[in-house]
Symmetry: none
Subunit: 223 residues, 2 copies
Amino acid sequence: MKGIRILVAEDEDKLREIVLKYLYKEGYQGFGAADGEAALDLWAEKKPDCIILDVTMPKMDGFEVLAEIRQTDNVPVIMLTARREEDDKIQGFEVGADDYVTKPFSPRELMVRIKALLKRSGVATTDNQLDVCGIHLNAEEREITIDDETINLTQKEFEVLIYFINHHKLVLSREQILDRIWGYDYEGDIRVVDTTIKRLRKKMNDKGECIQTVRGLGYKFKE
Amino acid sequence: MKGIRILVAEDEDKLREIVLKYLYKEGYQGFGAADGEAALDLWAEKKPDCIILDVTMPKMDGFEVLAEIRQTDNVPVIMLTARREEDDKIQGFEVGADDYVTKPFSPRELMVRIKALLKRSGVATTDNQLDVCGIHLNAEEREITIDDETINLTQKEFEVLIYFINHHKLVLSREQILDRIWGYDYEGDIRVVDTTIKRLRKKMNDKGECIQTVRGLGYKFKE
DNA sequence: TAATTTTTGACACAATAATGACATATAACC
DNA sequence: GGTTATATGTCATTATTGTGTCAAAAATTA
């Protein structure tokens, strides 16, 4: 998994640094470019495995850079767009971006997208297992073991747990969970979330305590 | 937490009103000041989350105002400069402006800058961490650690603490705190503030002393 | 010391979450 | 297809926790 190189082209210094910091924490090797031309240079020099490309940049915008790159390289590209630039999304896809992320985004979300894209592109070895605080998750086989005991989760329980693990330490509101697992168009009572978590906790025994309630806000997964 | 408050100090009435209108449309709470002195008064009274400061104003110019503010407040500031005033830009940065926008500008551009700055400053955030005197605050995870010990705060306690930290070294009156956290329309007893601070101090152990009482005026957060 | 202001603890009640019991939907099996 | 088992959703009840009020005690100031 090591040695994966990712180029981050984003003119806003603070944001670029945050992303690079997160990449570092995830074990990637990150390079930063503050404008389109620098991005092209770095791309030529480093031949990264993945590129994060802001749409609005000085000197050359994201699309121009992407077009240039695509003439010779199929490297996976994620475009960063401001919300207002909705139309750009489509344009970005046409030009050949592989994914897009709308600002503002959480660094964590971007990391998830990167991982997914790398996997899709066959860059990363499929690492579909996850261990968090004694909980072993094998998404492929859809199996959860806690302290070597396999536990049986229903579909909803499983999805909620994965969502929690993928966003551990973050406070997730009932709305977020509902939107994500049940879908935006879900019409029922939001308290399904409570009930599902109740069942999850019970099946997880002691580890149920990892799902903490944050009064007034939602839940948080944490050791 | 109630709305984000933005102070607009600009002597040209028309421009000021336009900016305020846009702010309103974006959901911010805007205050207008027509000269430097009025700006300082409003700043002291409202403790805004962000300030838009025109360089050329009657009574006190933008730099004087900024210098005054910076003695006690780290609030993010955007300076408005005329094209001719290029040099001022640098001066503005030295004095401690966080960004500048050159006139003429489109209101939309200003909004984008404001948003970006608020995000950078941790007011409305992507990456949201803060360290002050051994207190580590992570708003995204909604977690406070003091000397690596996690402490559990309720909603009100948490909001009050954030308000203090974001305005550290400043004396905050009970009214200000009440207005900000409980909202202007709060009808109850102002002494809730005392009680909430009592609880905060207790949970913070030694660090509780960071919240100092300023007799007759209010409270102040300081090491 | 008296007057003023703040701190504190006790209490009430409001807000929120957990739970159990039941109803309905879905899948699995014979 | 009918029967059973399992999963999922609803809801009312109970339990828990947060918040606000108040008055007495403590601290500060004049």
